[in-house]
């Protein structure tokens, strides 16, 4: 996982890697929440470039982090999502609250 904070823009990029499932989500959630609390960013970009697999655990994990962010008014975006992952996220209409950007 790559966590990259840009002080100038107050943007935090969280780059996931490998497989996102129920097993891996715990650690991903803890590391993401730590970074969000540490930097209190204005915007978080969830980057899926290096994700090989994701099931519905990823939906719950992203919504959980989004709720953390909402507490202090932060915004979220997602990028580099392949078609298979897009299909899963689209089922719950997640892009309406966390837009997909390029």
């Amino acid at each position: 996982m790559v966590i990259d904070y840009d002080k100038a823009t107050n943007n935090l990029t969280i780059g996931f890697d490998g497989e996102i499932d129920h097993h891996s989500c715990n650690e991903i959630a803890v590391l993401s929440d730590d970074a969000i609390r540490k930097y209190l960013p204005q915007r978080v970009v969830f980057d899926f470039k290096n994700v090989r697999f994701m099931d519905s655990a990823g939906i719950g994990m992203i919504i959980g982090r989004y709720k953390q962010l909402l507490r202090f008014g932060g915004k979220a975006e997602m990028k580099n999502i392949n078609n298979e992952i897009k299909r899963i996220f689209s089922m719950v209409g997640i892009f309406k609250i966390i837009p997909l950007v390029d």
């Binding site: 129920h22 959630a29 519905s56 655990a57 719950g60 078609n83 298979e84 089922m91 719950v92």
Partner: protein, 143 residues
Amino acid sequence: MENEMKLEFKSKSCNEAFARITVAAFASQLDPTIEEISDIKTAVSEAVTNSIIHGYENQEGNIHIICKIEGQVLNVEVIDYGKGIENLEIAKQPLYTTKPELDRSGMGFTIMENFMDKFEVESIVGMGTKVKMQKTIVRKEEV
């Protein structure tokens, strides 16, 4: 083609990846597309995760997977001997979850239903749950 395999493993979350990769490897003899393989992996991952979180509630138990290939059809059964599901109709509804505090989305059954061609759940409270899924792998044009 006719083939069959059975898998038995403990209800540990690290086995979620093992289960979906093993079923995908077995299915690969039908020459599926990357998308078909991804559908199968996701559906199996959802079923196994349900058994671990809900069936056994993170206690130790055994999960069985039975895979059969008949022609171009793959049948997958994921079986646990856990607490079972009281109301299947409610459990199958999109976004319904008994464990929202665990960041669960409630989309597991919906994904299995959408990603596979046939999907069925049998459950007896106190006895366990069996998820039956089927996917036909479309034969590719001979080159």
